[in-house]
Symmetry: C2
Subunit: 304 residues, 2 copies
């Protein structure tokens, strides 16, 4: 906010709630909002407005696929600010599962030294094969963090270009071949119409019974009902999830009860001291480019 206001060419107007936001759309040229506010009603107002640019202070642009904006509207996001923390959380989830931090927590609450129970469940990331789904900003930062752990890291991505932190990058059509080899699969894909249920019952059945699934991308990428069945039947070893098909995760979800699941409440992007400063800087830099007619650094192109 302060970073934006420092630019004399910009008039900053804030909205303290959604109705105020909606009232101001008709006079604005640009909007900076979290994606969660972009619902059907807002979309109608946007489509009827003279807006030239929407900046998302969040990472994903999921609602734009459900409510398409006008083609000429410029879209930018703030994925670059959230990605490092999301990547760190992904590695934390993977390590917590392999090192049984969740099982140790249960034993601690009972004041029990459960070495014999925990020992056979322990695994190491070292020596394992880790498949990262997606090599966008988050996937790349996960790979960089895993570099020191002596694992084989394979990325699977639509654009299969080489990356220095990854053992190899495979195209999406190699996914079915690589899944049976994986000790862990880390989902770092955004929501798009083509990522929905990419990990479905069939692909889950390709995994080995030692496989752990981590999801810090979007809940919709995994068929959650199929995942729950795979976890309950021991078809796969475990899951460590930060995102869900429905959030908050419904009270009656079977995932809550599974011992072989670690669940965190969609907080992977949070916790960095510098997050707000970083978000402000991204918005201000995009705004300066917008005013100068230059390419905007975090522009998003909507692809199916």
């Amino acid at each position: 906010m302060r970073a934006l206001a420092e630019n004399p060419a910009i008039i900053v107007s804030t909205a303290s709630d959604k109705s105020e936001l909606k009232a101001k759309i008709s006079v604005a040229e640009a909007l900076a909002i979290p994606a969660s506010l972009y619902d059907e009603e807002l979309s109608c107002l946007v489509n009827a407005s003279k807006l030239k640019w929407i900046h998302f202070i969040t990472s994903g642009v999921d609602p734009l696929f459900r409510h398409p904006p006008p083609a000429q509207l410029i879209i930018t996001n703030s994925a670059i600010a959230w990605a490092p923390s999301v990547a760190e959380h992904a590695v934390a989830l993977l390590l917590a599962f392999q090192r049984q931090i969740h099982g140790a927590q249960i034993a601690k609450q009972r004041q029990e030294w459960k070495l014999d129970e925990l020992r056979p469940r322990l695994q190491t990331v070292m020596g394992s094969i880790i498949v990262i789904l997606g090599v966008g900003m988050i996937g790349q930062q996960i790979a960089r963090r895993l570099k020191g752990f002596d694992a084989t890291v394979i990325a699977v991505a639509r654009s299969a270009r080489e990356h220095p932190d990854v053992t190899k990058v495979l195209p999406l059509d190699a996914l079915d071949d690589v899944l049976p080899k994986a000790d862990a699969v880390i989902v770092a894909l955004p929501y798009t119409p083509s990522t929905v249920h990419l990990i479905d019952a069939r692909r889950l059945s390709l995994l080995s019974d030692r496989a752990v699934i981590v999801n810090v991308g979007r809940g919709d990428v995994i068929d959650e009902a199929a995942l729950e069945t795979a976890l309950r039947t021991g078809k796969i070893r475990g899951a460590a999830l930060d995102v869900y098909e429905q959030e908050p995760l419904p009270v009656d979800s079977g995932l809550w009860k599974l011992e072989n699941a670690i669940l965190t409440p969609h907080l992977a992007g949070m916790g960095s001291k510098h997050l707000f400063q970083h978000l402000g800087a991204i918005c201000a830099e995009n705004a300066a480019c917008f005013l100068a007619g230059r390419e905007m650094p975090t522009r998003v192109w909507l692809k199916g």
Copy 2:
């Protein structure tokens, strides 16, 4: 075992319990045991024997400080086999604490989406200052694993030589100056008479209230009663421990009840698929060198 038995110059005799072990000491030239078996009684038998070499299949050689062996006895250990897993566990503990995996586990058991409660407790390793106490095999491997996390990693060690994975290495007498700056302190020191209670009440008081202590070295390095007080009073933010002054951790220890502590039951070295193979190879390699009169690769020199 198999690796040892493949050497025709070696007669391997196994003991299935401690009394069998003790009976065989008088005829053996070398002994391969876990350090936990080396008690006062065994020490007396060793001191009266013709043993030339003791190989520890474990990492630390703690009991040798309490029960000194004859000066000419060669001591080797297997720290090199355990260190990678211990280092991985240290990073898992640090990440689990900063990303509140333990808090999320409690919320999960209650089937509660506790985002608002967990969010203010989240921290990132990114951007933080991490002090590693000890740059032996474990400390070095921790540093290598932390390299991708964009933290400032400072090692404090008796021998303050530079290391490529560490931002800087400081001598032990700089410890008091560096503690106030630390977001996390990772103890990776072995038991020796001079490491006992290195982290005492005075040094705990030098830490900031955002500091987290991780211990994968030896429980005796930290004054556990003082740590418990620091945790209970919020003097420091938290602790994530794998080792304790007394193991198993006594049922009446106050640590069990502290919400800001993650406890694992001394299992940091476990979980690697290749551990036993690696342990066998180390023993066999040392044995080959022993027979050839060459320097043994994992020889330990007992220092105060």
